[in-house]
Amino acid sequence: MTALLARLPRLPERLGRSLGPLVFLLPMLLVFGLFSWWPIVRSFVMSVQQTNMVTPATYVGLDNFRAVLDDPLLTTAVQNTAWFAVLALVIGYPVPLILAVVMSDVRRARGLYSLLAYLPVVVPPAVAVLLWRFFYDAEPTGVFNTILGWFGLGPVPWLEDASWAMPSLVLEATWAAAGGTVIIYLAALVSVPPELYDAAEADGAGILAKVWHVTLPHLRSIMLITLILQIIGTSQVFLEPYLFTDGGPDNATLTVLLLVYNYAFANTTGGDYGKATALSLMLAAALALMSVVYFRVTRSWSE
């Protein structure tokens, strides 16, 4: 008892010392705990439960996964999402690379170039989609169709035709996102060792040869990262199909994440949180698997 009393005065001091770090960690622990770690754990639990938030959750094993796999819309959604990702690679991947390489060699007013390239990135995506939805007016007097008309082309049924809808979505998504990637490449291009260009010139390399043998190899590791990040990002596309076409016409732009959203939140079919989580997890697993394979395959290329 006396020993305990003797220790008492030192207690606040020791408490104070260990309290400091804890106080500073607390916001992070609370916010990550509640809004990141717990939902991650919970998604695994929910995927094997029947949950509608009204009646208590019941364990249903793999029923949710089976229900998702039995949904005839799943194949459509997976195909559309893959198609979006492929189109975004074909249309969207080279654009920022070409812009950045040309911009890096601009001597005057380079700041203006990057300012312009980044401008679409700061436009809120919902605003951009609503604006482009008007540009995509299928009438001959629509904005894009008027411009095509000057060259004797069109009119194009941008969003109203099942085969045109997806490329239209990709075109807008590329416009909205390319600037961010341009800035990444430009920052990487600052660090190209000047000696490499000097050496290439000494070997008689022209401008295009220097781009091919010096500039692009320098960007290789960044390009590999932006490639997989873009694939992961486009696999989760939601906003464009939701706001442009709501999955139409004829489910031609129904993507996996739109299906997740419809399972959980749509007015008529919504409320099936277990099924929504099961599909989210399947998509996440597919992306994780793809990333692992990707990094395995490309590991030797990035050196």
Partner: protein, 324 residues
């Protein structure tokens, strides 16, 4: 939840002892000194063929960027003050029958855009505050105080970067609907919009890496002088951290302004929704010229914000994150 690659800058403290100076200075200095060479050499640029080629390519790129990136926004600004019939019939003509400034007022007052505008401002400020608090205190504890287990904790924070946002949408919604322990329902409250924004591993990593690179001598000297955790944080570390605080801030505000999916899910009450969520519904029931005016108002602030803080947005790169 961005569709393509999102760029996050890497900020490091300046190597000079003068640590609190504004960051852009270094950049300007480098460029002023700068015979930094790029793909073409000075010799090549003097050759007439190359000179003409470069003029065409660079001029063409500038024209392309002006049309493709600035063009849609200028068109929006034009059409926001044009009567609907003119916009529909002659979309690319410049005010064939005069302007209609009334659109902006109609959008602001009559379709109540001001309400959604201020909602967005509230969400942006709240998300910014939560993100700052979490990133700065967490980064400080992980980089400077380093209590036992902080490496594992940092690993757990970084691990969340590899979880695609899609996995979290539904479980996060159910968590916010019925918070663990307290059973609070944050749906239709702004806390439901602010708090999850704070769980950004990018922010924590950015701030921690910055604090890691602060000069250790300054911190040790303050410790020797008897500086406690709180005073060290407030009087030594924060004043040296203006660059990283600036970067986290501008990206937090812009991300909150752009966000769509999460507020759509967590704020079903129209009176609480931000512009992004409300605009598509308004667009369906409002006359076109007023819709376009509303779109212009909705992107005016982020664009102005970008123009003011452009240096912070345009200096970033992935390279630190990749090589580090």
């Amino acid at each position: 939840m961005s569709t393509l690659v999102q760029h996050t800058p890497d900020v490091q403290p300046e190597p000079e002892p003068e640590l609190s100076g504004p960051l852009p200075r270094r950049r300007r200095r480098r460029r002023a000194a700068g015979e930094t060479r790029t793909i073409t050499s000075a010799f090549e640029r003097r050759r007439p063929g190359v000179r003409i080629g470069r003029t065409i390519v660079n001029g063409g790129l500038l024209v392309f960027l002006l049309i493709a990136c600035l063009g849609p926004i200028l068109w929006l600004a034009k059409s926001a003050i044009t009567p609907t019939q003119d916009t529909l019939r002659y979309p690319l003509a410049l005010w064939p029958h005069g302007t209609d400034w009334e659109n902006l007022r109609t959008a602001w007052v009559e379709i109540d855009l001001k309400l959604y505008f201020w909602n967005t401002v509230v969400i942006a400020i709240g998300s910014w505050a939560v993100q700052m608090l979490v990133a700065v205190t967490g980064g400080y504890a992980l980089a400077i105080l380093r209590p036992r287990g902080s490496r594992i904790l940092y690993g757990l924070v970084l691990a969340t970067m590899f979880v695609p946002a899609v996995v979290l949408l539904v479980p996060l919604y159910l968590t916010v609907l019925d918070l663990p322990f307290t059973h609070w329902n944050l749906v239709n409250t702004y806390w439901g919009a602010f708090l999850p924004a704070g769980a950004s591993a990018f922010n924590v990593a950015l701030v921690k890496r910055f604090f890691d690179n602060l000069p250790r001598e300054v911190i040790d000297a303050a410790r020797v002088d008897g500086c406690g955790d709180f005073r060290l944080f407030w009087h030594i570390v924060l004043p040296m951290s203006r660059p990283v605080l600036g970067v986290v801030s501008v990206f937090a505000v812009l991300a909150a302004w752009k966000d769509f999916v999460w507020p759509l899910v967590v704020l079903p009450d129209p009176a609480k929704q931000p512009l992004s969520v409300r605009l598509p519904r308004l667009a369906a029931v409002t006359e076109l010229d007023v819709v376009l005016a509303a779109l212009l108002i909705s992107c005016a602030l982020p664009i102005a914000f970008f123009l003011v803080f452009q240096r912070l947005f345009l200096r970033g790169g992935l390279e630190g994150a990749v090589k580090g």
